[in-house]
C-alpha cells in the first residue's frame, strides 16, 4: 500500500516540480514572478487535447504541437507583457503578470468554454499491471520518469553549455553579462521557452492523469508549484524539483494516512509556505540574498 502512495506522490510531486522550474528560472533571471506560468501549463493541456482528441492526430505529434504551442505562448507573453517593462520598476512587471494571467484564463473560457472536457486516455497508459503485490499503472511510472529525464537534461544544459553559463551569469549581473557579448534578451527568451515547454509537458501529463481539461486547471497547480519553488529556494532548479516532490509527498501521504484531512488537502501547501517563510526564507537550496520575494 505504501508503495502505491509512494509512486503516486512521486508522480504528483514531479509534476509540481516541472512547473516550479519555470517559475524559478524566470525569477532567477528577471526577479519576476510569472503569474501567467500556470496558464501556459493549461494551454499546453488544451493544445494536446485539441490535437489528439478533436483532430485525431497521433499522440506523438499532438505532444509536439502542444509543447511548441506553449513555448510560443510563453515567448509571446514575455514579448508583449514583460519585455516593454524591462527597465520599469519590478512591481510594474508583476502587475502586468497578474493581468496577463487573468487575460489568458478569461480568453480561454471564451475560446474553449468553461466546461471541463474529458481527455480519453490511451489504453497502453492506463492498463494496470502487477509487480508482486503492487498494482502499477504505466502512466504513474512514465510521469516521474519523463520529469526526471527532462530535469537531468536541463541541469546538463545549465551547467555544461555556453547558454547555461550565460543564464547563470545573467542571474547575478545582467550588465556584465552583456559586456561579455551575450545578447541578454535572447537568453531571457530561451528561459521562457524552456519554462513554458516544461509547463506544457506537465500540463499534458496532468490532463492524462486526471483525464480532463478546463480553463482554470492551471490556477491551483500553478500556485502550488510556485510554493514548491519558494520551498526549494527560488532561483535553484534542483530546489524547484525538490520542493515539488516535497509538496507531492505531503499532499498524498497526509491524505493517505489521515483520510479525515482530505478536505484540507490544498491547504497543506500553504501551511508549508508559511513554515518555510518563517524558518528559512531563502528556501532549502536558495542562495542568500537581500531581495527575495
Amino acid at each position: 500500500m505504501f508503495m502505491q502512495h509512494f509512486i503516486n506522490a512521486l508522480g504528483l510531486g514531479s509534476l509540481y516540480g516541472l512547473i516550479a522550474i519555470g517559475y524559478t528560472m524566470v525569477y532567477g533571471i528577471l526577479r519576476l514572478i510569472n503569474f501567467a506560468h500556470g496558464d501556459i501549463f493549461m494551454l499546453g493541456a488544451y493544445f494536446v487535447f485539441f490535437a489528439t482528441i478533436q483532430y485525431k492526430l497521433p499522440w506523438a505529434l499532438g505532444v509536439f504541437i502542444a509543447v511548441m504551442g506553449a513555448i510560443l505562448s510563453g515567448l509571446l507573453v514575455d514579448l508583449i507583457a514583460y519585455k516593454p517593462l524591462r527597465d520599469a520598476p519590478r512591481i510594474s512587471a508583476l502587475i502586468s503578470a497578474i493581468g496577463v494571467s487573468f487575460f489568458i484564463e478569461n480568453a480561454s473560457m471564451v475560446a474553449f468554454t468553461a466546461r471541463p472536457q474529458a481527455v480519453i486516455q490511451p489504453k497502453q497508459l492506463v492498463e494496470a499491471f502487477s509487480v508482486g503485490d503492487i498494482r502499477l499503472v504505466p502512466l504513474n511510472i512514465i510521469v516521474p520518469a519523463i520529469s526526471f529525464v527532462l530535469v537531468g537534461m536541463l541541469l546538463w544544459m545549465i551547467y555544461r553549455t555556453k547558454r547555461g553559463l550565460a543564464m547563470r551569469s545573467i542571474s547575478h549581473d545582467i550588465e556584465t553579462t552583456r559586456l561579455m557579448g551575450v545578447s541578454v534578451n535572447r537568453i531571457i527568451a530561451l528561459t521562457f521557452a524552456i519554462g513554458s515547454g516544461l509547463a506544457a509537458v506537465a500540463g499534458i501529463m496532468w490532463a492524462l492523469r486526471y483525464p480532463k481539461v478546463e480553463p482554470l486547471m492551471g490556477f491551483t497547480p500553478g500556485f502550488k508549484a510556485f510554493i514548491a519553488a519558494v520551498f526549494g529556494g527560488v532561483g535553484s532548479v534542483p530546489g524547484a524539483m525538490l520542493g515539488g516532490l516535497a509538496l507531492g509527498f505531503i499532499e498524498i501521504m497526509s491524505v493517505a494516512f489521515f483520510p479525515t484531512l482530505s478536505g484540507y488537502k490544498d491547504a497543506f501547501a500553504f501551511v508549508l509556505l508559511v513554515i518555510i517563510l518563517l524558518v528559512k526564507p531563502t528556501g532549502l537550496m536558495g542562495e542568500k540574498s537581500e531581495d527575495k520575494i
Partner: protein, 239 residues
Amino acid sequence: MLEIKNLDVWYGGIHAVKNLSMSIGKGEIVTLIGANGAGKSSAIRAVAGLVKEASGSVTYIARDGGAVSILGKPPEYMVKMGISLSPEGRRILPHLTVEENLTLGAYSRRDKAGIARDMETGYSLFPKLKQRRKQKGGTLSGGEQQMLAVARALMSHPDLLMLDEPSLGLAPILVDEVFGTIEKINEEGRTILLVEQNAFAALKIAHKAYVLETGSITLSGTGAELLQDPKVQAAYLGG
C-alpha cells in the same frame, strides 16, 4: 581606430559628458584621466554600448578596414566588432569559477581552438589565475580579481581593449604589476583605452592622454607632456 566626436552623455538625468572629442590611433595606449565623478566612466560606458542616452558620433575602424558608426549599438555588437570593456569595480561573477568567467568572456566566439589558445595566453599573463582556475571568482583577492577582469576582457580577442579604473582598490605594488601587464598587452598589438583616477600610473604608460573635468576635456597631449604639466601636477599628481 576610434574617433569620438562631440559626445554628450546623460546619466540618471545628469549631463555627465559634454562635447567630448578624442581620437585613439591603432596600437596606442590612450588614457582618459580625471577626478571621481568627472564623467570618465560615462564616456567609456557609452562607447561600450551600455548607456542609452548619448549623442554625438563614435566612429570605429573595424578589422576589415571599414569605418562604422557604433554609438547606440548594444554591447554584444561592440564585442563582435572587437571592442571589449573591463568594467569599473572588476565585476567578476563571484559564483562562477575563474575558468567559467574566462569562458564567458569568449561567449561571442565559436573557434574552440582559438579560445583555448587565448585562455592559455591569459594564464601566461597572469599565472596566479591558472593556479586558481577551478576556484570561484568571489574567493579571489582584489588584485587577482582585477587580473581576471582584464584576462576576461581579452577572451573576446578584442582589437580595442577598454579598461575602467583597473587600479581601483589595489595596493601600489599590484598597480605596478597590472599596469606592466597592460603595457605588455599593448606591445602584442592591442589598442588600449584606459580610464583612470590614478593619473601618475596612467600617464607613465600612455602614448596620449586627455584630462576630463566635470564632463569636458580641459587638456590633452602625450603622456610625458602631461606628466610635466604644472596644472596636471597640481591637480592630479599631488603637487
